[in-house]
Amino acid sequence: MAIKINFPKREIPSISILSLANLAFIMVVFMVIVVKFEHYEKSKVINPPKLNNSFKIPMQSKSSTILVVNDNEIYAEGFKIKSLDDLSSLYLTKSQKDILVLIKADKNVKVSTIIEIMDKLRQIGINKIAFITGG
């Protein structure tokens, strides 16, 4: 006579990939921070001039920053600009023309560089330009 033993039903082993998804999200967040940080690092080497009578620039949803590290090193939207004509390809689309362009330049940059950038932006059709100052 066979003895019937009721073994407790064993659960099917499973590994939840929930933590994997969380990890992936956190990695994405981290990557975004790193990219932003790199952008910040570039802006950190810029020492903008101080303005005592500065104003808070009203931020809008569409804005872009041009970093002018020196007369030969200009960054726009995170890309290094080889010539000012590159600004055209960056901002020429119709949607980009309503953008507020913030120019953050080092205090030792020549005035001609700044004016050339402003003139180029004006040629493209950008009407809102701001100087970011240290003050």
Partner: protein, 164 residues
């Protein structure tokens, strides 16, 4: 007698329900936090698409800095297009001049004020050398804005660039 009969494959399952609210909130907040625009200080130039005056390229309407920015390539004959202004010049060495007279940086505001006491409708024409550093352009702005603030006047600032 088979005691262990079950399938030994491991089931990977994605349980949406158990995705904790805290985790989700953290991720959403992180994205929001990253996209919050940083409040910057400076000078805003809002150019009008159609200039108020036909011969002037564009208007500045940011903060108190209201005036006209002169286009780089149109600086050859500035005198022809402006009148009733005080020339405030800065050379490539960063030396200041008011109406061609050398002025110490600390005395610029007082010197300019004298002109505005005589005629408050005047505007300031910042004439800066192209090789001067950007710092001096901002200093010139600072002085001009300060002057208009002190006198409670509507600022009118023009910029010109002296080419080599």
């Amino acid at each position: 007698m088979k005691i262990f009969k079950e399938n030994k494959t491991i089931d990977f399952k994605f349980d949406f329900v158990s995705l904790s609210i805290a985790n989700l909130s953290f991720i959403i907040l992180s994205f929001f936090a990253l996209n919050i625009p940083k409040k910057e200080k400076g000078i805003l130039f809002a150019f009008e698409k159609k200039p108020a005056l036909a011969q002037l390229p564009y208007q500045i309407t940011g903060g108190s800095a209201r005036g006209t920015l002169y286009s780089y390539e149109k600086l050859q004959n500035p005198q022809q297009e402006f009148s009733n202004y005080i020339i405030f010049s800065i050379n490539d060495k960063g030396e200041f001049f008011v109406e061609d007279e050398p002025v110490n940086f600390n005395q610029v505001v007082d010197k300019l004020k004298n002109y505005f006491v005589e005629d408050s409708t005047k505007s300031i024409y910042i004439n800066i050398h192209e090789d001067a550093s950007y710092e001096y352009l901002i200093k010139a702005f600072d002085i001009s804005i300060q002057l208009f603030r002190d006198l409670k006047l509507q600022p009118k600032i023009f910029i010109g660039v002296i080419k080599r």
